[in-house]
Amino acid sequence: MKYHQVNKSVNRVDAYEKVTGKAKFAADLSFPDMLYAKVLRSRYPHAKINKIEIKRALTFPEVKALLTATDIPNNEFGVIIQNQQVLAKEYVYYIGDGIAVVAAETEEAAERALELIEVDYKELPGIYDPEEASKEKALRVHPELKDNQVIHHLLRKGNVNDGFTKSDIILEREYSTQFIEHSYIEPEAIVAVPYDDNHLITIYGSIQNPFSCQNAVASVLMVSLNKVRIIQNHIGGSFGGKDEVMSAMAARASVLALKTKRPIKMVNSRYESILESYKRHPYKMKYKIGASREGKLLGMEIQCIADSGAYACQTPFVTWRSVVQATGPYSLSNVKTDTYGYYTNNVYTGAMRGYGTPQTIFAQESLMDELAGELNMNPAEIRLKNIYHNNSITASGQKLDNHEVSLEEVIEKAAKESGYYKKYELYKNNKSKPGDIKRGIGMAISFRGCSLGAEAVDAAGAIVAIQKDGSILISSGLAENGQGLKTVLSQIAAEELGVDMKRVIYQELDTSISPDSGSTVASRGTILGGNAIKEAVVKLKSMLLEMMAKKYKMRKDYIIIQDDYLIDRKTEKKLLSFEETVSLAYQEGLCLSAFGWYKAPDISWNEETGQGRPYFTYVYGCQIAEVEVDTGTGKVDLLKMTAAHDVGRAINPACLKGQIYGGVMMGMGYGLMEELETDKGYIKNANFDEYLIPTIKDMPEINPIIVENPDPNGPFGAKSIGEPTLEIGAAAIANAVAQATGKRIRHLPLNLERVLLGYSLSKGGRKK
């Protein structure tokens, strides 16, 4: 099929605003009479608050309002479990808990007022290790709960002991991963405007998920949803990170705005951002694997423990994705998986690009290489022997029968492009070579369920409105977070309608107008949002074609819209231009606005067995890393990353490559350098001088390979790309480093000390 608007690297529709400084991010907005707010955060990771003395702060003439927990109508919120405090009431559970919030005429005055608030704390012992937290007599983070367990998911298939009995080889290994800071370059920002345009409160902000924010604010204010309006436009990166932290910020700003009857602006510094915002979950993972002498997998037993930190946040869903995908894309008759989340007094953890898979993939793909090593097999060979194919049955019992299972294709393409087999053989004899500099090559693969799966309701809506001059406005309930959604959905709308995408403008998301489409997460923007847009366009197209059929006394299906003309399909004669057709439709009184709604195909999950149909389709990827290690210093250079991803259909190849480049770099940070360091709940590296993310100098050569096997459930066959690009890199790097050094490192990140000494040194740093 020949496409005119999709499958093309058109320029981003929001690029001009962004390169000229015209794009307004939340911190750039100002309103008349606006106040500035700042938050007082805890001094301890765990303490009882005896008293908060605010009198002195209130003597400041510039201070207009000061809130503590007792001023918040409903102080607890949360998407899954409502136990996150807007402001700490009796206890602080982690170092980022807010205690009071001040609104003043200037930001400086608000900051000075914070210093005059006296909090009388009783410091309490805390619990900082999720394994400790899991013990029966462990100190309870939330004393009202019976224990520290947030969630336990399980998956049972076959009989894992039978599998191990039949095995010629059994390996048991433990792996662990670290806290990761999202490191969006824009720190969180909110402006809350009271009593504007019939709304009690209107909120502008760097909000990834406007509808979850709307829900949280309405619930905190104890008002109906239609009184809370969230307008989201430009956001400076999110990667899963600007959700609950933004809800808390929006709620605080809203209460202040209603109290002072003035707009409230809140902007976090980087230090505040890293201190308060949630992180990627650290995991401790125990894997046991059994295989035959020939490398056929016979059983896998997995236990994963996730550190949820002070609040439940998204832990129940993050660990659910882990339980579904923890075996990797390998056919196994016998699987026993348990994933757990536990409360601790560490910084809380939530959604971050990958969402519970980068951890398990690091473990499971490291383990595949360890097994290959024990069996003296090539790592690619052992994978090819066990991967899913069409009609394979997954660990959760799902038959992969509705799309192309392209694992073999992505492996072979990545292997060919990277020269994997040759290099693997070449670097095998590292030990015998002189000098400290050694090279290695390693691969990792994944399958990833698209969209939310059985986590939650999975549907999205869109509105397409053709204006009377033939220009088009589209909107959907999904948000542009920088990934390119506005562009991709504009392309999809134009392609389906048969017009040039220059006609299309994607409007900002406004919860009072846009249909609630859930969250823009789980790499669901293109597949869900695209299907919803298509649905709306199909309705409008049908209406226009019907009108034309009547006018020209032709059959409706003999007319098509192509290149901005309505065309007689048989004679290829142009009947009318798109503008003329639209003008006619207006004169006829037709409604040229349509609503599209797409509900994902049915899925199922049995919590008791971990069996079902957790996702309606999957994407597949393979990344191959080539590294050079200085075994004298422990320095790892990632030379090259080859990344092959089956995305169904590339709607915009340039944007898609952008996702791959960015995901590979984030995966590299995860694998080699990033670690949010905590010491008994205190965060030690709270700015970019100590929390290091990859710079342009750290870049490897990246070779993106786009694989297209159109999916029947995707718009023009398109599926997902955001998260797959990030989830496998660290595992591939770890495997390459293991080949280079001959030593296996089972803990992320693979920084200098771990590569050189085999363990991590504490770097010291700031403590507050």
Binding site: G482, G662, N687
Partner: protein, 153 residues
């Protein structure tokens, strides 16, 4: 607080301002002059989002005190477009998909512009060196380099 008077050029226009002793250039630009294209990401000169060109050099505007700028010339992202026409570098960022969330983009552009002012034909390594102080979490930098290379030929 004691304010001092300072006169300098911003985007080719003379400005006359009164600033406090601790006022940073980024605050002057964003708050007094309403030039919000310059972004603040870390406040300590590590992320480069606040990069502007001061007297021909790329600097972190979060580390510069405005009171010291008497007689200086500042160029911000808003000054790259001339008479509504994007600078070739801006157009290259659009054409090469060098922009995702766009928050680091103004700083990236200013670092790249300063490089090209000194060295119109930089190598890939020289581009990397010039942009080392600009963090981007979205793009993986590749398409940013491609954009700069496309105007540096």
């Amino acid at each position: 607080m004691n304010k001092t008077k300072v006169t300098f050029k911003v985007n080719r226009k003379q400005v006359f301002l009164e600033v406090g002793p601790k006022e940073r250039l980024i605050d002057t630009l964003r708050n007094q002059l309403k030039l919000t294209g310059t972004k603040e990401g870390c406040g300590i000169g590590e992320c480069g989002a606040c990069t502007v060109i001061l007297n021909g050099e790329a600097v972190h505007s979060c580390l510069i005190l405005t009171g010291q700028l008497e007689g200086s010339e500042v160029l911000t992202v808003e000054g790259l477009e001339i008479k509504g026409k994007p600078d070739p570098l801006q157009q290259a960022f659009i054409d090469c998909n060098a922009v995702q969330c766009g928050f680091c983009t103004p700083g990236m552009l200013m670092s790249a512009k300063a490089l090209l002012m000194h060295n119109p034909h930089p190598t890939r390594e020289e581009i990397k060196t010039a942009l080392e102080g600009n963090l981007c979490r979205c793009t993986g930098y590749e398409q940013i380099i491609e954009a700069i290379e496309s105007v540096a030929k």
